[in-house]
């Protein structure tokens, strides 16, 4: 029996290392400092074309959230979904790995790498969520 190595569910957006840690990949404009997720070719602020691809910080604060009760068949409900502001600044959407009662606007959260089902070939996938608290 072979165990297949898990891979990122969106390899361009989420980089996962062998030790199971990872980061989101974004863009930074060298001219005006704007940050973006996901990566872009052209800065929307100053139209610079040579944006840098960078690892985004993994700690941020929750800007807002909801508890989703109706979704597409790909997701088991309910789940908490929120916009997280990371230093940059840049805002990223993700599921929040917490009970709805523990979630509050402004709370500190950190990126975590989590199992994300399997692809069509049966390879296990890794995705991301944000969990309460700072990283360390």
């Amino acid at each position: 029996m072979t165990t297949r190595t898990p891979v990122s569910f969106r390899p361009h957006d989420l980089v996962v290392d062998d030790d199971g840690t990872g980061f989101l990949r974004g863009s930074r404009c060298p001219s005006c400092g704007a940050h973006y997720f996901p990566t872009r070719e052209v800065c929307a602020g100053c139209l610079t074309e040579d944006l840098e691809t960078i690892p985004l910080p993994t700690d941020g604060t929750l800007y807002t959230y909801t508890v989703v009760h109706r979704s597409t068949p790909a997701f088991e409900v309910p789940y908490v979904l929120g916009y997280v502001d990371l230093p940059g600044p840049v805002r990223v959407l993700g599921q929040i790995d917490a009970d709805p009662e523990e979630v509050a606007i402004g709370m500190d959260v950190h990126l975590e790498i989590v199992p994300w089902g399997t692809n069509d070939e049966g390879t296990p996938l890794l995705g991301y969520r944000f969990a309460p608290g700072g990283d360390a």
Partner: protein, 381 residues
């Protein structure tokens, strides 16, 4: 520059039409507009057709069914702003002198194309982690609650108001008054929203005929023509830093384009039809249009200021929450309502003394953009 007038309006019943097609619904609305204008359809020089989830060249199928052939027609897709964008096409043709009469319609057989919660496009990285359209608006509502003390009951009142108006509109999807408790007890969708905070999946079509001021003088009925003073369209900006999710710069900027073109300001507006795809959306639109200060609209609804008979009625037709939301038909149906109100033909939901009305749509979501397409139209009597 010439003035542009709405000379004819047509609209189907909004609701579930399992046995109809987008083309058939569109043809019914177009025939309605032609009869309302009392014109020979051969006077129509150009046409624009809005639709979102329908087969390609649905617009030409509609023209075929009503016997119009040969004239230029463009199919228009701008998500929920598709119908309003079609109207802008006709508006510009008349301003440019390309047409003295132009047809714009929107049609959608949504129940045949679509079921369940709306999601952004399939390749959308936010959809990949569980975003749905109700969830995105629910997050805006939650943030608005935090910043401005909005209550769950205040949100519910918007749905109650719009469904009460819809009960006075024979063409509306919803026909029944509801209570605040009905809204609070409805099936949860994305907190704080339940089912009655969300616009329904509806089928329907609406059409308008526009004509130049000269044409109206020579052939039209000036007593029934209503001036389309502005038809503004903007594309949302990609944000270079996280912005406010409780104030719509895109709505404000599009409205300012329209106010400038029409030579009016928010203080001149007598009533509004706005894109209330969710209860919170009505708040965000109205405040973006400058009709109420940011943070103040929910309390104004509580005081009845946005009711028919209030200081500034909002969504007298029932809005998307009550009249229904057949995507591309929505923007055209808003203009149909403005024309009925300004003609004094709105029956039991008539707003007394209405002289200036505004219609607002916005639709679509792409990453980093607060809204893809936004339209604002101003009609004056």
């Amino acid at each position: 520059m010439t003035d542009v007038y709405v000379i004819g309006i047509g609209m189907t019943q909004f609701g579930k039409h399992p046995d109809r097609t987008a083309a058939g619904l569109g043809a019914e609305a177009v025939r309605g507009a032609i009869h309302d204008a009392e014109i020979d359809p051969r006077a129509i020089r150009t046409a624009y057709a809005g639709h979102v989830f329908q087969p390609m060249v649905t617009g030409q199928q509609v023209l075929g069914q009503v016997g119009l052939a040969g004239i230029p027609l463009a199919n228009v897709e701008n998500a929920c702003s598709s119908g309003a964008t079609a109207i802008r096409g006709s508006f510009l043709d008349i301003l440019a002198g390309e047409a003295d009469v132009s047809l714009a319609f929107g049609t959608e057989h949504l129940t045949g194309a679509f079921k369940g919660a709306f999601t952004p496009g399939e390749d959308d990285p936010e959809a990949a982690v569980g975003a749905t359209m109700p969830a995105v608006y629910a997050m805006r509502a939650r943030r608005y609650m935090e910043e401005f003390g909005l209550t769950r009951e205040q949100l519910a009142r918007i749905s109650v108001k719009n469904k009460r108006n819809a009960a006075l509109n024979p063409l509306a999807h919803f026909k029944k008054d509801i209570t605040i408790d009905d809204v609070l007890m409805a099936k949860p969708i994305a907190e704080p929203f339940g089912l009655l905070d969300c616009s329904p999946v509806s089928d329907g079509a609406a059409a308008v005929l526009l004509a130049s001021g000269d044409w109206v003088k020579r052939h039209g009925d000036p007593s029934r023509a209503v001036r389309l003073s502005a038809s503004a369209l903007r594309t949302g900006k990609v944000e270079t830093a996280p912005g406010s999710m409780t104030f719509e710069e895109l709505t404000r900027d599009t409205a300012n384009d329209a106010y400038e073109r029409a030579g009016v300001g928010p203080e001149d507006i007598d009533f509004a039809e706005v894109h209330d795809c969710f209860t919170i959306a009505e708040v965000l639109r109205i405040e973006g249009l400058g009709l109420w200060e940011q943070g103040t609209y929910p309390a104004a609804v509580e005081r009845g200021e946005a009711d028919i008979g209030g200081r500034l009625p909002v969504n007298p037709s029932g809005g998307l929450l009550g009249k229904g939301h057949p995507l591309a038909a929505t923007g055209v149906a808003q203009v149909v309502e403005l024309v009925k109100q300004l003609r004094g033909d709105a029956g039991s939901r008539q707003i007394e003394g209405a002289k200036v009305g505004i219609a607002h749509c916005r639709g679509g979501k792409t990453v980093g953009v607060e809204g893809a397409a936004c339209t604002v139209q101003i009609l004056t009597k």
